[in-house]
């Protein structure tokens, strides 16, 4: 592929290869989003018709204001804002609720940006351990709350839990955790970075006070982009507007929301999100088929002698952690290319996205692949196994 400009090459892997990268699958753009980027790539492109009261979510042309309303409705919350990534959503909520020394309950599989959000606010994370099935459950969360109370004399200020985690793609007991949060009257943030935009999500039905999603992980949007949403009860706190007055000039910027730093996701990232939204709304209805496809794939994958799936089974998510220590890693031990033989073989078959050189535990994601592509992928794994004398049942 010829370079786009000087040493920046054209990225055409989505056009040329089946990409099973664990975190890239559901962030792949729709054609509408690609067109939006062509048209709205210039810096402040969303600001052409920014009129009073001069805030991103109030702009009516293009219909950014309507998008915010429809987005909140789509995810079953009262208010939504777009942010530069889920992490900025965590930060907005944590910064509003947590003060120095406060405890925040998180999962033992929490994303690192949840840690950073708590640290930035001066809080302390308290992790709920996984149960034997690698799941965070309501009981474990309640137990941790009691431990924190016993240890610090105070209840945690916030519970922040992942719907599906980044490591195994396992579904956690979000309803049970929400119930525990309610019982203890602790606000609850559901991290739906791996679910909002690929499957139907209703924040209020989940029992969430705050819902956070990722545009570039699961909403067919460019990075960085994300969503933070809340209920009427919490909107005034998290989306509070500035009260600051300049001591010399007396200037006020009353409409600007403090945690959003005024306007948030300006330009092509937002317009691309909006452009993808109609397709996202439709694709979540087909989540069961995506689950069917990953389960077909892992069933075939497990026919290769020595292969294992580390994630919960049957799969409830397309993000899946596998173990090929007993199969492809055995070949890697004596192969002159070591673990890279495996990625070489995949690439020869036009498959990319696995961690280069990894032949023990690694992750993949089949989201968005057609049945033809899933079957092709399956055959490719069988073919590589057969080539190296590994039994395929």
């Amino acid at each position: 592929m010829r370079p786009m400009i000087e040493d920046i090459e054209v990225r055409a892997r989505e056009e040329l290869f089946i990409n099973i990268h664990p975190i890239q699958a559901a962030g792949r753009l729709t054609p509408e989003a690609m067109k939006a980027i062509i048209s709205y790539g210039d810096g402040y492109s969303t600001c052409d018709r920014c009129r009073k009261p001069f805030r991103l979510d109030k702009i009516s042309r293009p219909p950014i204001n309507d998008f915010h309303v429809e987005l909140a409705e789509f995810i079953g919350m009262d208010h939504a804002r777009v942010v530069p990534g889920a992490r900025r959503g965590f930060q907005a909520v944590v910064s509003s609720l947590v003060e120095k020394g406060d405890s925040v309950i998180v999962s033992a599989l929490a994303h690192y940006s949840e840690f950073l959000a708590v640290e930035a606010a001066g809080g302390v994370v308290k992790e709920v351990p996984l149960n034997p099935d690698s799941i965070i459950a309501g009981e474990g969360t309640a137990q941790k709350i009691e431990e924190v109370k016993h240890e610090t004399g105070r209840f945690p200020k916030l519970i922040m839990m992942d719907h599906f985690d980044y490591l195994f793609g396992n579904e956690h007991d979000i309803h049970g955790i929400a119930k525990v949060a309610k019982d203890y009257a602790i606000p609850f943030l559901a991290n739906c970075a791996y679910s909002l935009g690929v499957m139907p999500i209703n924040g209020k039905e989940l029992g969430a006070d705050f819902l956070v999603g990722s545009g570039h992980k699961s909403f067919a949007s460019p990075a960085p982009s994300g969503i933070v949403a809340t209920t009427d009860e919490w909107a005034d706190k998290v989306f509070r507007t500035t009260k600051m007055v300049g001591d010399v000039t007396g200037r006020r910027f009353g409409i600007k929301e403090v945690e959003m730093m005024g306007c948030t996701l300006m330009g092509s990232n937002l317009i691309a999100m909006m452009a993808s939204f109609p397709r996202v709304r439709e694709r979540v209805k087909k989540w069961s088929e995506e689950v069917e496809k990953i389960n077909y794939f892992v069933d075939e994958f497990l026919k290769i002698e020595g292969n294992k799936v580390i994630s919960e089974m049957p799969r409830k998510h397309t993000l899946t952690k596998v173990d090929t220590t007993g199969s492809f890693d055995k070949i890697a031990r004596t192969h002159k290319r070591r673990g890279f033989f495996f990625s070489d073989e995949l690439k020869k078959r036009r498959i990319v996205g696995g961690f280069a050189g990894a032949t023990r535990q690694w992750k993949l994601n089949t989201y968005g692949l057609s049945w033809d592509q899933i079957r092709y992928l399956t055959c490719a794994f069988h073919d590589i196994a057969s080539k190296y004398g590994i039994n395929v049942a």
Binding site: E14, E15, L16, F17, I18, R28, P31, M34, K35, I38, S39, D42, S45, D48, R349, R350, I351, S370, D372, Q373, Y376
Partner: protein, 97 residues
């Protein structure tokens, strides 16, 4: 180039297009329309062609890595190529001929 403050763009729909340049000289704003006449049709057709090619890009994504096109996809590809060709013709006629 100076931002076109106070200039009313002649090209509606693509307000920030670089063909409209405002150059500040001696506190006067002088509008310099590059090429003489606005070529709105050519600009519009450029986007139409780019969008059509984006649809082709999506077909590549949907059919990779074997690119075995079914009848419907072959028809879509034909339509895209024709659409791009029409746009290129329109652009050529606006800008060159």
């Amino acid at each position: 180039m100076v931002q076109a403050v106070g200039c009313r763009p002649a090209l509606r729909g693509f307000d920030s297009h670089p063909r409209l340049q405002c150059i500040r000289r001696s506190n006067l704003l002088v509008i310099n329309v590059v090429g003489g006449t606005m070529k709105e049709k050519a600009v519009e057709e450029t986007f139409v062609a780019l969008f059509a090619l984006t649809d082709l890009r999506q077909i590549f994504r949907d059919t990779k890595p074997t690119f075995k096109f079914n009848t419907e996809e072959k028809e879509q590809i034909k339509q895209i190529i024709e659409r791009v060709r029409q746009s290129l013709n329109a652009i050529e006629s606006e800008l060159i001929e």
